[in-house]
């Protein structure tokens, strides 16, 4: 039985910086020694709105990267899109503000024991955790190529420093306003063949993850994806963020994306059953 991330802890953490990066905000949060336990793919659940808030639920954000060498012992970086009330509140928090956070939560991207060819695919700000992962894969001797996609240029998140760890980066926008015109999944079959890709790591909208699965299904390419389903608690007690997943016998059960995910093996997720009654 899957259990909650054994390193998860609730702490009061200070915002070290909050910068606007295009349509997103980059928040750096001092999390001290917890940074050493955070892995690419893990997420953080943050209390939003302050004491008299009418928002009763935590907000979950993918950790884009952690740093343990900073003057704060350890920090985490989040890339947040100010879409809803909770994320708007978070993006309005200034340097020095205190946040009630629970982290690290969920599963992490599995890193191969031997150097392999890896393809990282990100949709919108779903690309954020892929840069930390790219650094890690790079340090293990993997060749890392990256594809980023979004509907339009302003929704692409691709920081300059993040590009250092990748061998190549291709950008796709549906409206053609940046990079190639088309969907981020369009070039995947060709890249798998040309680059001899062994594993695809993906993070982004469910439709993108599902499209990647239909490309990798029946091949030897491993697909590790970070799924997205709305969560009330982030710690495994509410049962709202479930995803249909098949076990070895083919039995499909609803697994919590906060405990058994967010990183899951794309080949066992029952993409056609997402959002349907079993």
């Amino acid at each position: 039985m899957a259990t909650i991330n054994k390193n998860a802890a609730q702490i009061q953490a200070i915002v070290v910086s909050n910068k606007r990066v295009g349509q997103y905000h980059q928040l750096i949060i001092n999390i001290g020694d917890l940074a050493a336990t955070c892995k690419p793919g893990n997420f953080v659940a943050i209390n939003v709105g302050g004491e008299s808030s009418r928002m009763v639920l935590r907000r979950a954000f993918a950790i884009s990267r952690v740093s343990t060498s900073s003057m704060y012992r350890g920090t985490m970086e989040l890339i947040v899109a100010p879409h809803g009330q909770g994320s708007k509140w978070l993006c309005a928090q200034e340097e020095g503000a205190t946040l009630d956070i629970v982290t690290p939560l969920g599963t992490a991207f599995g890193v191969p024991t031997e150097p392999v060819q890896a393809l990282l695919v990100g949709g919108g700000y779903g690309s954020a955790p892929l840069f930390g992962l790219a650094e890690l894969l790079n340090s293990r001797g993997c060749r890392v190529d990256m594809l980023l996609g979004a509907s339009t240029a302003s929704k692409i998140y691709a920081p300059m420093e993040g590009k250092r760890s990748v061998n190549s980066l291709r950008i796709y926008t549906e409206d053609g306003s940046m990079g190639h015109k088309g969907r981020v999944t369009d070039p995947i079959p060709e890249l798998i063949r040309d680059l001899n890709i062994a594993v695809i790591y993906s993070c982004g909208p469910m439709a993108m993850l599902s499209a990647i699965d239909s490309i990798t299904r029946g091949t030897d390419v491993v697909h590790q994806c970070a799924v997205e389903e709305s969560m009330a608690c982030g710690i495994g007690i509410c049962m709202t963020c479930v995803i249909p997943v098949a076990d070895a016998d083919g039995t499909v059960s609803m697994l919590r994306s906060c405990i058994d995910g967010p990183v899951m093996d794309g080949s066992v997720v029952q993409w056609d059953k997402v959002g349907k009654a079993l």
């Binding site: 039985m1 259990t3 710690i235 009654a277």
Partner: protein, 312 residues
């Protein structure tokens, strides 16, 4: 420092503190144990378990609402056999006090579940959840039908009566809660759990359709607290001898004290744990301090205090 007797009872079950998880809001305790020692609260009320494994309703299963949330889980769970094999032994190992919540689709299923609990050691009480709003057929919400409620409780009482306290969880979505409460007490309930979630709906303005996969969901959180306080007050006024486990939007010590003053012998914390995994610990501490500050020497003195005569 004044001393306070913080203990409480539900039927013949004794608990060192009046704070509990709410069924369906703590799974089987494993995850919260990462944040605090389960022994420090009154007890764990486990997620309502059914006879067979159940996958529940489609996603989206939740929608946040002002000071609350709607959930539409549909009693997803492992079924009683796996629950007894894995979850109860875990809680026993943790030395947590356990209230097992059961839910059935038929009157007979409740009796069968009760029978399976008879020989299980380490359980303090059983909660009979007859009020989950997230079932396909609204006719299956036993707690909305006085006769069906009575039959369910009667069946459980014939199996377990006298062995384990029977706590019956009722719905506020009824016209006359007191008569339903009296019916289940007559049928053998030792205590009542008030209240389950309130049936609600959110329309998604992008799709212009109901947002939840199950269309309707149960509203919980501070938004429903006044409904819970009212329900507890009315039922306690009618049957002051029947212990009540109060719940519905408790997120601070003062909220817990409100329910206790209305007539609750204990409080369950549900949605607050979603927002804060250590909510139960802080509520417990705040409640303890509030009782002392108000001059109570025991929790029991405060139960139903809002009902005292005008002259006091």
């Amino acid at each position: 420092m004044s001393t306070l007797d913080f203990s409480t009872t539900l039927g013949n079950a004794w608990f060192p503190a009046p704070t509990f998880t709410a069924s369906g809001c703590a799974s089987s305790g494993r995850e919260l144990a990462q944040f605090f020692d389960l022994r420090t609260m009154g007890g764990v009320v486990t997620k309502s378990v059914m006879l067979k494994p159940r996958t529940g309703r489609p996603t989206p299963r939740m929608a946040e609402t002002p000071s609350g949330m709607l959930n539409s889980i549909g009693l997803q769970g492992p079924g009683i056999e796996a629950f007894l094999a894995k979850d109860v032994p875990y809680l026993v190992d943790q030395k947590a006090r356990i209230i097992v919540s059961i839910a059935g689709e038929t009157v007979e299923e409740y009796s069968t579940l009760a029978r399976k609990l008879r020989a299980v050691s380490g359980i303090s009480a059983v909660e009979v959840n007859i009020s989950c709003p997230n079932v396909e057929n609204r006719g299956l919400v036993f707690a909305c039908d006085p006769e069906a409620s009575r039959r369910v409780v009667d069946g459980v009482n014939r199996t377990l009566g006298g062995e384990l306290p029977i706590i019956v969880k009722l719905s506020p979505d009824v016209t006359d809660l007191v008569s339903i409460a009296k019916g289940v007490v007559d049928a053998g309930a030792d205590a009542l759990a008030l209240i389950n979630t309130v049936l609600g709906m959110v329309i998604n303005l992008d799709t212009m359709r109901p947002h939840l996969g199950g269309k309707t969901g149960g509203l919980s959180g501070p938004a429903i607290r006044p409904i819970a306080v009212r329900a507890i007050y009315q039922v306690h006024a009618a049957m002051p001898q029947v212990p009540i486990l109060g719940m519905g939007g408790v997120s601070t010590g003062r909220d817990a004290l409100e329910m206790i003053a209305a007539g609750a012998s204990g409080v369950s914390i549900g949605t607050a744990s979603f927002g804060n995994p250590t909510a139960i610990m802080s509520i417990q501490k705040e409640l303890e301090q509030l009782l002392i500050a108000k001059g109570f020497t025991s929790l029991r003195q405060a139960i139903g205090f809002a009902h005292r005569p005008e002259s006091e």
